[in-house]
Amino acid sequence: MNDRSDAEILIIDDDASMRKALERLLRSMGYRTRTFCSAQEFLDTDFQSDSVACIVLDVKMPGMSGTDLQKELRKRDLPFPIVFITGHGTIPMSVQAMKHGAVDFLEKPFDEHALVQAISRAVEKGRQTMAFKREISDLEERYQQLTPREKEVLALVVAGMLNKQIAAELGTSEKTIKVHRGRVMEKMQAGSLADLVRMAEKLNIPTP
């Protein structure tokens, strides 16, 4: 298991004693925690973290509910993994939450093992998301180093066209295309054509 202290658990619950108890429990298990008394307070702090963060979120809260916050975070493209906790959950409520990407849905009172399992999965998911995001931003950076011509060539290469076809399409010689292609592979740090295609997919580059 990864070191727990590199993940930050964000506890959002309107009930003060629940907040305190959860904080104690998670800290005693080695997690770093932060608490918020409402969804709005969490949004207002404009939370930023370099480490992996996941949210333990109460469903029923006055004002913005847990599920409302989940929607809002998706809208803002803040894909924090969420573990919902609820005092009185309904099946439609949990189905909706899980559909929208919640990691787990725990009914209060819950066992610490269930909580730890859910949080571990959430942290793992957070790590993956973070790694993916990092990879995308890396690729994005490399892509931005390409010249406009190289970008054109890249799009046609990943569309499966041969050098000869690309040359005809762009109205230039096959030799020139070869040079462009070599630069693209180099700048994108792609080991093979298959590698380049995967990168283009991740970057969502439109093929003609």
Partner: protein, 454 residues
């Protein structure tokens, strides 16, 4: 004979029955009909004299046709009369049966000799053989023991001029019967009571029906409490699982802390304090549920309506916060007390407020308000109204909102308002509903002020 006269009048005065054309003058005509006991016995005779003596035959035909038509009409009328006579006879029989069922008897008590005289009906009510010698004491000995003092006191009051109209129990061969008594005392010129004259009516049947109704209402109230409780379960379950979850998390945290090399004793103390306070919190919730579910008969007493409203609003407070609805109260100060069961009335308030909140859709525009108001209406009653800014009721639904099992909610039983109305009416008040001129609806109930009950 009356019928005949009527017919004559009709023919003589109605222009529709004017005689056929060509008859410039008729000498006269007589129509006679005897109707008796529903049968037409009589005859119609007409005499005509034409001035110029022509077309007499044709005229006869016309007249005969006319007579046939009138006769048919008359027969129909008489038939109708026969039917209403039968109806009258039937209702007389009904009345007699009612008298028999109701068993009414009369009595008189000579206050100088203490001689009590009963009609046969009274002997029958009390189940004694006719002719049994009677006096006031003998009568009292037949009264149900618990009611003797009440009856005796009422009679003594009557002897001082008070009204004597009482309901009490009697024992007939060990069985309990209910009677109603009404009497008048005759006084001498000097004011000495001379004679009591009264009637006795056996009202056991009515009392039984009342008793059954009371039991039924109590059962319904219990059901309604369960229903209301069911509607509140969501809020209460949340409230109770909250402290339970905190207790568990705290205890588990404490176990981890105890595994440390140097456990933080201050933290452990703090954890235990929090566990105790959360436990208290949970017990409070349980207590509230219990008092809501307790099946007990109505305990009417002196009650402050504003306190009942405030207690009821506490129960729905959390629910209203979740629904982002503002529940306001506008309670008049210095209201006189009412005689009522605070649990039942509180339940009506909870029910009306929950309904009001249900009427406000999740996405409806502000204001999202429920206002509970209490005020005097005249000098004899207090009115409590619950006003919302929801979608209103609508003219058609207004007619049936109080009907049992009428509901517009997916998960509603449709009993809440029916039971609320029955509770309010059993307290001598009224519960009504109306749409607001602007948005939403208002449910109001009245309760008579203590001492001003009808």
């Amino acid at each position: 004979m009356t019928c005949a006269v009527v017919l004559l009048t009709v023919i003589a005065f109605s222009p529709a029955y004017a005689l056929p054309g060509g008859w410039e003058e008729h000498r006269g005509w007589i129509i006679g009909i005897a109707a008796f006991g529903g049968f037409v016995l009589g005859l119609i005779v007409a005499f005509f004299l034409r001035k110029d003596g022509r077309e007499t035959g044709l005229c006869h035909e016309d007249l005969e046709r006319l007579v046939r038509e009138r006769t048919a009409l008359l027969e129909a009328e008489v038939e109708k009369g026969r039917i209403s006579q039968e109806a009258l006879a039937r209702s007389e029989a009904d009345l007699k049966m009612v008298q028999e069922v109701a068993v009414v008897g009369g009595w008189s008590l000579d206050l100088r000799t203490n001689k009590l005289t009963w009609t046969d009906g009274v002997y029958e009510v009390f189940g004694l053989p006719r002719g049994t010698p009677l006096d006031y004491e003998k009568f009292l000995s037949l009264v149900y023991p618990d009611d003797v003092e009440y009856v005796n006191r009422s009679w003594n009051d009557a002897l001082k001029g008070a009204r004597y109209d009482i309901e009490h129990r009697i024992l007939v061969d060990g069985a309990v019967k209910w009677v109603r008594e009404k009497a008048r005392v005759e006084f001498s010129d000097s004011g000495t009571p001379l004679r009591g004259l009264g009637i006795v009516q056996d009202i056991t049947g009515r009392k039984q029906a009342e008793q059954e109704q009371y039991i039924l209402r109590r059962q319904l109230t219990h059901v309604s409490r369960l229903t209301t409780a069911g509607e509140l379960t969501a809020a209460l379950a949340h409230e109770i699982s909250q402290p339970l979850a905190a207790i568990l998390a705290n205890a588990q945290a404490a176990r981890h802390i105890l595994n440390d090399e140097k456990p933080d004793m201050d933290e452990l103390h703090a954890i235990l304090d929090d566990i105790i306070s959360d436990d208290t919190r949970a017990r409070e919730v349980i207590k509230r549920i219990r008092s809501l579910l307790r099946k007990e008969s109505a305990k009417s007493g002196r009650m402050d309506i504003n306190r009942v409203i405030e207690d009821a609003l506490k129960l729905v407070e959390r629910e209203s916060r979740f629904r982002r609805i503002t529940v306001r109260s506008a309670l008049a100060q210095g209201l006189p007390p009412v005689t009522a069961d605070p649990i039942q009335i509180g339940q009506v308030v909870v029910n009306l407020v929950l309904n009001a909140m249900d009427a406000i859709d999740e996405d409806s525009e502000p204001p999202r308000d429920v206002t509970v108001e209490s005020r005097m209406n005249g000098e004899t009653e207090i009115v409590v109204s619950v006003r919302d800014t929801g979608k209103g009721i609508g003219e058609e639904a207004l007619r049936s909102v109080f009907d049992p099992f009428y509901t517009t909610k997916e998960d509603g039983l449709g009993l809440g308002l029916a039971i609320s109305r029955s509770i309010i009416e059993s307290h001598g008040g009224r519960l009504s509903a109306a749409d607001n001129p602007g948005r939403g609806a208002t449910f109001s109930f009245s309760l008579p002020v203590m001492g001003k009950e009808a």
